[in-house]
């Protein structure tokens, strides 16, 4: 289970997300904010899609599948 920290966002921004939650595809404001932040940080290269162990595990699987050797 991931640990969480409380952050604050402007009320009007939170309301805009709440007003459009359904079309944004999220169930809660927290889900949407987390997904957007994760996506932006990934694109900027500040976090990784995989941990080192996960990357090795996926590469091992791809090798097993024949995509890599």
């Amino acid at each position: 289970m991931r640990k969480h920290k409380k952050i604050h966002i402007p009320a009007d921004l939170a309301q805009a997300i709440l007003d459009h939650l359904d079309e944004l595809g999220a169930g809660t404001i927290e889900e949407y904010v987390e997904a957007v932040l994760r996506s932006q940080l990934l694109r900027a290269g500040h976090i990784s899609a995989y941990s080192q162990e996960e990357e090795e595990e996926v590469e091992r699987r791809l090798r097993d599948l024949g995509y890599l050797d």
């Binding site: 595809g25 987390e34 995989y50 996960e54 990357e55 097993d64 599948l65 024949g66 995509y67």
Partner: protein, 449 residues
């Protein structure tokens, strides 16, 4: 409300499907009332980048994605796994549709891990490491999936096995779960566009082709698994039928694949060939088959005498060791084109063991893509029309290799997949890169790309 459902069958082959269609009532009905044609894949015809090329309308050169792993820099060890951020700027079709108020359900499309926010719901494809990772958007969808099917299966584990009965049961269970999730998603979510990819056909082809195809070099007419491949397709057809019965009757249906399949006749040791022809030098030749990546990492490649090295897989990738580009490059810039041409000609001329032509094709990225971004391989090699795998490991002591360096594998990819549409049309070949435009136009949207 307009609805379009794309059912992707990874590796479904037009020749094979044509043979099996009489036994597949759901797919046969679609093909007979609509149309059935070949779908030209990307170069290379590989799951990554093919599915995301289909969903973005951009070729691998434009995407800068040439395979599951791509060079992030010109170092010798810089291959990194592709993830969804590689496609973020390429406007996947669901993002375009979302901007026009069309909600999407995306399930299992390779290249969608980690999931990005979108107008709808998304379940990542088989490059998700495990169900502990965030593999759905929204995140809470993962819990619902667990309630529906228990542990969700992205892929088959321990795929390289001679225990074919076990393999078949694993693939079948995985497919069953994915279609169960698909049925729940279309029933419980609002959507206009639905796209799913089932990876099972690819796994069955690689694992079972020799048992099905009497022309395969390892075919055994007495194999108890001769009917396993058709049996999987009959099972898959029932899953498709059940899913179609959940969709509103007016839904447009497309059944497509990212590439086809064919028997694998053998493997060509790309680095073994480079060594024998003076293009690749090692400090010491390994006693047993060893991955080129390990040899590089352990300092066993003599870069001062190396013109090129290769990566294996279903196709070959060849990288030149260029002055001022690679850390210890030796190919002068002015000799780059001539070296590529010479290597292309010599690789294309490599015969089989009996001296007959293999019909190998060698491509330069600048000649086959609309644009070249990222760091492409210098040459892309299809040994024997892709009937021969590219083997990158070194230590075999020969070039033609009939053992597989990664375990049992019966099939390789081919350049044409399938295109079945519920809308009547001709049976002329289609191109994978046109699917996105077809989807966008179905919703009456002008494609911004």
């Amino acid at each position: 409300m307009r609805r379009l459902a794309v059912i992707g069958l990874d590796c479904a082959d037009p020749v094979l499907l044509g043979e099996l269609l009489p036994e597949l009532p759901a797919l046969r009905e679609l093909a007979e009332s609509g149309c059935f044609a070949r779908l030209r894949s990307t170069d290379p015809p590989i799951t990554i980048p093919a599915w995301m090329a289909m969903m973005t309308g951009k070729d691998p050169g434009q995407l800068g994605v040439y395979g599951f792993r791509n060079r992030r820099d010109h170092s010798y060890v810089g291959l990194r796994l592709t993830n969804s951020t590689a496609f973020a700027d390429a406007d996947p079709v669901w993002d375009t549709l979302g901007r026009h108020g069309v909600r999407s359900i995306i399930l299992g499309v390779p290249g969608t891990f980690p999931p990005r926010p979108m107008a709808g719901v998304l379940v990542s494809g088989f490059l998700a490491p495990n169900t502990e990772a965030t593999y759905t958007y929204p995140t809470s969808l993962a819990k619902r999936i667990e309630e529906w099917v228990g542990e969700y299966a992205f892929d088959v584990r321990q795929f390289r096995t001679n225990d074919k009965a076990w393999l078949f049961s694993q693939v079948r269970e995985m497919t069953e779960k994915r279609f169960a999730v698909a049925r729940r998603l279309v029933a419980e979510h609002e959507w206009g566009f639905f796209a799913m990819v089932e990876i099972g056909p690819d796994r069955i082809h690689h694992g079972m082709w020799a048992h099905y195809d009497p022309t395969h070099p390892r075919h055994d007419a007495a194999s108890p698994y001769r009917d396993t491949l058709p049996e999987y397709y009959r099972f898959l057809d029932r899953q498709i039928s059940d899913l179609l019965s959940e969709l509103p009757g007016s839904t447009e249906i497309l059944v497509v694949s990212d590439h086809g399949a064919q028997k694998m006749e053998g493997g060509l040791g790309i680095n073994e060939w480079l060594i024998r022809n003076g293009y690749l030098a090692l400090t010491d030749y390994p006693d047993a088959p060893t991955r080129i990546g390990d040899l590089i990492a352990n300092g066993r490649v003599d870069w001062s005498k190396t013109t090129a090295w290769g990566e294996g897989g279903y196709y070959g990738r060849l990288f030149l060791n260029v002055v001022d580009r690679e850390p210890r490059g030796i190919v002068p810039h002015q000799d780059y084109d001539a070296t590529c041409s010479r290597l292309s000609d010599e690789l294309a001329a490599v015969p089989d063991e009996a001296g007959a032509s293999l019909n190998t094709q060698v491509h330069r990225p600048t000649e086959i893509y609309r644009e070249v971004t990222g760091i492409p391989p210098d040459l892309i090699v299809y040994f024997g029309d892709l009937r021969w795998r590219s083997i990158g490991t070194i230590g075999w002591g020969r070039i033609h290799i009939h053992e597989n360096d990664t375990g049992p594998d019966d099939a390789n990819h081919s350049l044409y997949g399938i295109y079945i549409s519920s809308t009547p049309g001709g049976n002329e070949d289609r191109h994978l890169l046109d699917i996105r435009r077809e989807i966008i136009e179905y919703f009456g949207i002008e494609d911004p790309s």
